[in-house]
Amino acid sequence: MKNKTRILIVDDEKIVRESLLHWFEEEGYEVDTAEDAEAALRTIDKGKYELMLVDMKMPGMSGLELLDKVKEIDKDTIFILITAFASVPTAIKALKNGAYDYITKPIDPDELAHIVEKAIHQRALRQENEQLKDNIDEIIKPDNLIGESRQMIKIFDLINTVAQTDTTVMIRGESGTGKELVAKAIHINSKRKYFPIVTVNCGALAETLLESELFGHEKGAFTGAHYKRKGKFEMADGGTIFLDEIGTVSPKMQIELLRVIETKQFTRVGGNENIKSDFRVIAATNEPLENLLKEGKFREDLYYRLNVFTIFLPPLRERRDDIPVLAYYFMNKFNGAMNKNIKNISNEAMDFLVNYSWPGNVRELENAIERALVVGRGDSIKIEDLPFHVTPNNRIDDDGDKSLESMEKRHIMNVLEMNNWNISKSAEALQIDRVTLYNKINKYGFRKS
């Protein structure tokens, strides 16, 4: 029941030492304090303190210097820095040097509790998984999660690291960037791979349905509940639950989610049996949760529970290096599925693919290639095969589409051609500013021939 983690607080201010000491004692930790870095070093032995909370600015040796010394003595010590706002850049530097995290003064008690719990938890997992790590050299990637760009290699690294822990993961990125694929990759590379990964699209269900979907229901719990049904949390026992579009969950459900994530216990709708389930949570969102937090639409506590380890998926337009690899990958995939034998992608078509803005990301690229294979003749994908109203001459076909957007497209393209792609002149003629014009060129995938 009690937490016996040993913590050392290093701060030259007595009031800070005392209030932190008091706070940690209430939390049930074993705590010592030191008034400066030298005093701290005198008490440190390998393994004596699991966690150190250190003020960045102290007379004599700074927190940063202490960090280096501590890492030499015991690299496993979790090092958390206390900073003033002004020293945040230095704190970020400290993260690179192996500090676990930093916290700014005055400290938010919630934040401190979360950081400390998270750190201790991760440390335990890291130790538990030390041997396991050696066995996994190459990460298993599901279909479509491919790329050779610097960004994607970083992401494969993150997937690999987090898969070996049981940490809650938050995946963020625009629609179509492959969030579900990342969740699957984490699952199949984890020790939970022999158990199910259960996906819930939180945005697709009304609150009452979501509740019975997640927690299950007893027979007769509500009209239409003719049978007892297991909920997704129950089905995910031993495995992973993937909560997609978490930002859409109602305030009431957020409380329930928080509770079930915390306790790993719940009851079915209309039931009173306490059900336990051992699941790992991976959540995803394409909305900036921070905005929802500010608007009060998303609970801060749930946010912190979910945001333990975050993976940001870049939009396709920010990793254009991957477009050729992906395009060829999809071409081969659909060749197989459609029994076709298209061998390559013309330079012109590739040029277009690489420069287009891809608002729908990888999914949009996949659809574009699929369409190209459906309509394409011959043995290569040509620019005419792509599902955009663009010809090699950059003329927009008047295909009878009278929507405002397609008229706008045609009009902008004509003005650009008339002005020989002089952006300033074209913008002037269109009576919009240059940035707006650039955005539109990008949005419609126009390019100069």
Binding site: M1, I15, S19, H22, E26, P106
Partner: protein, 186 residues
């Protein structure tokens, strides 16, 4: 064990009444309301617009040698400890004094809607929580326990209204076996 509640600049009399009524139902010994002339002005931080809880406790210690039992200050203003942005309350671990602020327990603070029952429930929980620290309890992992640490008001709502069996056992080892008559009223 006698229990003294010291409202400090606490203007809402009807709230005070329901709190005392509730607490009296929980304790076997006497629950009394006392008046303490603590120097709140000295504990006020102009920069932060909050009151330094440790200092208020220090002040209360000087004024309460005549009271035999636990003394809890109940305040409406927001509390802080210099290193922290705010605290719900503070207690001397294994001590005699504690303080609880109801400032952040108001439901209208969060949802914009007043909910008196919820407000009283939260206040009772936080009083029992700080008092638990006085009686030697540290934070408890069980969500059913009032000693669960609350990182935010929603966690106060989730946690239980009384000490869990494990914590009760510690209380009994610490000599508070016969302090309570009943669980708090629902």
């Amino acid at each position: 064990m006698n229990f003294f509640i010291a409202p400090v600049e606490f203007s809402n009399v009807s709230v005070l009444h329901s709190i005392v009524k509730n607490i009296s139902g929980i304790f076997k010994d006497k629950v009394s309301v006392i008046s303490l002339p603590v120097n709140t002005a000295a504990a006020f931080s102009r920069d932060r617009g909050q009151y330094f809880s440790t200092q208020l406790i220090a002040d209360a210690i000087k004024l309460t040698s005549g009271y035999d039992g636990k003394v809890l200050m109940l305040v409406e203003f927001d509390l802080f400890v210099p290193v922290f942005t705010y605290v719900f309350g503070e207690a001397q671990l294994n001590g005699k004094h504690s303080i609880v602020s109801v400032c952040r327990l108001h439901e209208e603070f969060y949802s914009g809607k007043t909910n008196d029952k919820l407000f009283i429930d939260r206040t009772i929980k936080e009083i029992l929580h700080e008092l638990g620290h006085n009686m030697g309890l540290i934070h408890c992992r069980s969500w059913d326990c009032v000693m669960h640490s609350s990182q935010g008001v929603e966690e106060i709502d989730i946690k239980g209204q009384f000490y869990c069996p494990d914590c009760m056992e510690i209380l009994s080892n610490n000599g508070f076996k016969d302090s309570f008559v009943a669980l708090p009223a629902d």
